[in-house]
């Protein structure tokens, strides 16, 4: 479908086309509401990213995803259900939360909700504790538009690790949307890691939205290693008193791609703590935009919002943006941000090269160190290693290009 998307969506046509996918007719009414909201909904905001002409719109009832390691399995006690085929009785406990954080208030979310073609509902009961991570390995198919929705509902005093890992199939283009809702209950701790490695043929809108109840902790690690153009919004609302979010983002941009990332934490409850750490590396002619947004709303007394955005530029023609934004409506707070953009540290390079390493290897080691602060926070060693391998592969490729240019 063309850039800029359709002017409007017809709710009746959406219901006719997508209704047959839904086991519970309630889902179809949600699609219709989103379709009706679409025409007047504004574009989502990604400062300094011109994404409007991208091919972000594409329909189809086929799922657009496969599971290379089989359907995801949950640890005992945790339930995982496919979203669309869940009957009303299964859907019922999720309804108070489903689509609440991702209401169709922007054009792309509205489009996503109207066209949902795959998804999961995960429920972690109260008092559940496990060190065994729940891993979702998903491959986005070439030429099939995926609109995948995930709701992770974690009860009180629970603890779980979830890894949401995406790869892409090479081939024909597709326009995908990946939207996730996370609910962290009181006194619970969730370690959530998403590793996005969509292929060059995939243009995507990614939105992940979390809310954290009193004394809840959300440790969020995001690896953004896509090859195509993407915009991704990672937002957390610290609703409950004493809740904490620790968000770490590592991103690598290569080729001619554009990756625009909003990483936002909103302090709503009292004594809430937000930390954002973003490290990015840009090679070749790529563009990487970090919009870090720390928002402390009125009444969030004692809130603490910190963020750090660091970008390494490895090519003269790279384009980087590090925009650390603080929006503070309360005075009894601590808020700070830091940002830096620069080259690979010359003294570190000198040290490594004086030990006989080649320039390329030295550069890769320095970069790995730079990204290490985030990489080591990835909860699963296998995924961590995969991420390191992907980064290594991209760096070697980028260095080769740089070498050919010079």
């Amino acid at each position: 479908m063309a850039a800029f998307g359709p002017k409007q969506l017809d709710p009746a046509a959406i219901a006719a086309a997508y209704g047959p996918l839904d086991a519970d007719p309630w889902l179809t009414t949600q699609r219709q509401a989103a379709a009706a909201a679409y025409a007047d909904a504004p574009w989502p905001e990604f400062a300094k990213v011109t994404f409007h002409p991208w091919k972000l719109f594409g329909d189809g009832t086929a799922a657009g995803v496969t599971y290379p390691e089989g359907a995801p399995a949950a640890p005992a006690g945790v339930t995982i259900q496919p979203l669309l085929t869940a009957p009303a009785a299964v859907l019922a406990p999720f309804k108070p939360y489903l689509f609440h954080q991702t209401a169709p208030t922007d054009r792309l979310t509205a489009y996503h909700l109207a066209h949902l073609n795959s998804g999961f509902l995960i429920r972690v009961p109260d008092h559940f504790h496990s060190d065994q991570p729940l891993v979702l390995n998903t491959q986005l198919l070439a030429g099939v538009n995926a609109h995948r929705h995930l709701l992770l509902l974690v009860g009180r005093d629970a603890q779980i690790t979830v890894v949401d890992h995406f790869t892409g199939e090479a081939g024909a283009d597709s326009a995908d949307s990946i939207v996730t809702e996370i609910v962290v209950g009181e006194d619970s701790r969730v370690d959530f890691a998403n590793v996005d490695a969509f292929g060059a043929n995939i243009t995507a809108f990614v939105r992940r939205q979390a809310q954290v109840a009193a004394n809840g902790i959300l440790n969020w690690t995001a690896g953004v290693l896509n090859d195509g153009n993407i915009i991704a919004d990672t937002s957390t609302n610290l609703v409950g008193t004493g809740s904490t979010a620790d968000v770490k983002v590592v991103a690598l941009a290569t080729g001619k791609q554009v990756q625009g990332l909003n990483t936002r934490v909103t302090n709503i409850g009292r004594q809430t703590t937000a930390n954002i750490l973003q490290h990015g590396v840009i090679l070749e002619n790529a563009t990487l935009v970090f919009n870090g947004i720390g928002h402390i709303v009125k009444g969030a007394r004692g809130a603490d919002a910190q963020q750090e955005n660091r970008v390494l530029m490895l090519s003269r023609t790279a384009h980087g943006d590090a925009n650390p934004i603080l929006l503070i409506d309360e005075n009894d707070v601590k808020a700070g941000h830091a940002a830096s953009v620069g080259r690979v540290d010359a003294s570190q390079m000198y040290y490594l090269m004086s030990r006989g390493l080649t320039k390329e290897l030295a550069q890769r080691l320095v970069i790995r160190g730079f990204l290490g602060a985030v990489l080591t926070a990835i909860p699963l060693p296998a995924i961590q290693q995969q991420l390191i391998d992907t980064i290594e592969r991209k760096l070697i490729h980028g260095q080769r290009i740089a070498h050919q240019q010079s």
Binding site: A318, D321, I325, D329, N331, D332, V333, G336, H337
Partner: protein, 480 residues
Amino acid sequence: MTDAKTKNTKNNEDLLSTVPTLDDDYDYGFSDDVTPVFSTGRGLTEDIVRIISKEKHEPQWMLDFRLKAYKIYRRMPDPDFGPDLSALDLDDMLYYQKATDKKYRNWDDVPETIKETFQKLGVPEAERRYLAGSAAQYESEMVYHNMKDEFEKLGIIFMDTDSALQQYPEIFKKYFATLVKPTDNKFAALNSAVWSGGTFIYVPAGVKTDIPIQSYFRINAENSGQFERTLIIVEPGASVNYVEGCTAPNYSSDSLHAAVVEVFVNDDAYCRYTTIQNWSKNVYSLETKRAQAMKNATMEWVDGNLGSKTTMKYPSVYLDGEGARGTMLSIAVAGAGVDQDNGARMIHHAKNTSSSIVSKSIAKDGGAVDYRGTVRFDRDSDGSFAHVECDTIIMDEKSRSNTIPYNTILNGNVSMEHEAKVSKISEAQLYYLMSRGIPENKATEMIIMGFVEPFTKELPMEYAVELNRLISYEMVGSVG
């Protein structure tokens, strides 16, 4: 003042008595009953633009420029960011008012009421004591400008911008509106259509002055628009230090100050441009200030924003020559009903350029103070460096602050550091001071003074004293 501060007193009461008493009113809120010798009345039409140009006996090209800008203004929207400007009634504004028939070079000749106003503001005294030159604008026109002979002899040109258009048409045309085009923003377009007054400074190659040249801008009538146009040209190897101050009477209805400032700092030249903006709380201050720094040139903005109802001002430096340097040092204080939306823009266009932005903001009594800035490294900015530091104190629970910096980097061979902090007054510092017998309001004031010191210490002494006094005044009643 007593000599108590030199003694090692047992308690600090004596020391406290040395801190000046705080006023609790805006000192400059008085107004004069001056009937203008010429006014275009309320509102703005194309005819008024023609009348302004005719009244000034301008060449045809300037009239054409104004008319073109007027058309641009008519179709330009308000900025899509920052404070709400919907309450600003542009149809009720007085766009051009001339208070005197001529311009004076001696205070004795200035009409009595206007002279008194500037005396109350301390302008003639400051000129005698520490300025190389001084100018005063009242409503739309400069009423006074003078420069000491010794500086005139160096070939420095210092006059109002209207006179410069008549007397130095070639230099004028070469630079005018080349940095800030009418299409830049709505208020730059409006200024271009109705501009009047402002300062023109030309410093010939190699001429250096450390002693400041000052202009003072005063709005007197209610619902006035002041649209001065300032043009500063610093030729290679020259240097200039320019200072401007602004005040207006208190009225219940709004006035508008929409200046355009263009500064050209040529190779190896230096310019420092200091503004102490202390408009009354019924003035919208919507400014466009821009400088161009060529090879190895230095441009420094020093920008103090204490007053106004709403300020939108983001002075910029286009670092267009290799090795150029740009700095911004600013403070903003927003009290009740005030929205200060300030910042800076540093655009690195050439190799080995450097920039520094240091911004200190204070919000109190429900005021809003925002930092909004841009650092941009373009493709050809190899070896350039930028440093940004934004610190904000929010004094009470009614006040708020946004920090919105955009850092765009299009060259891999540059570096940038950015830091910002937002907090309340440090409780540890307050506790320390109060445990030594200093009451809370005085302790708060001392902490604030320490916070803004990096700014005040860059000001000429007389300004630093004045600024400290103004900040003390702003702090009155902020505690308890």
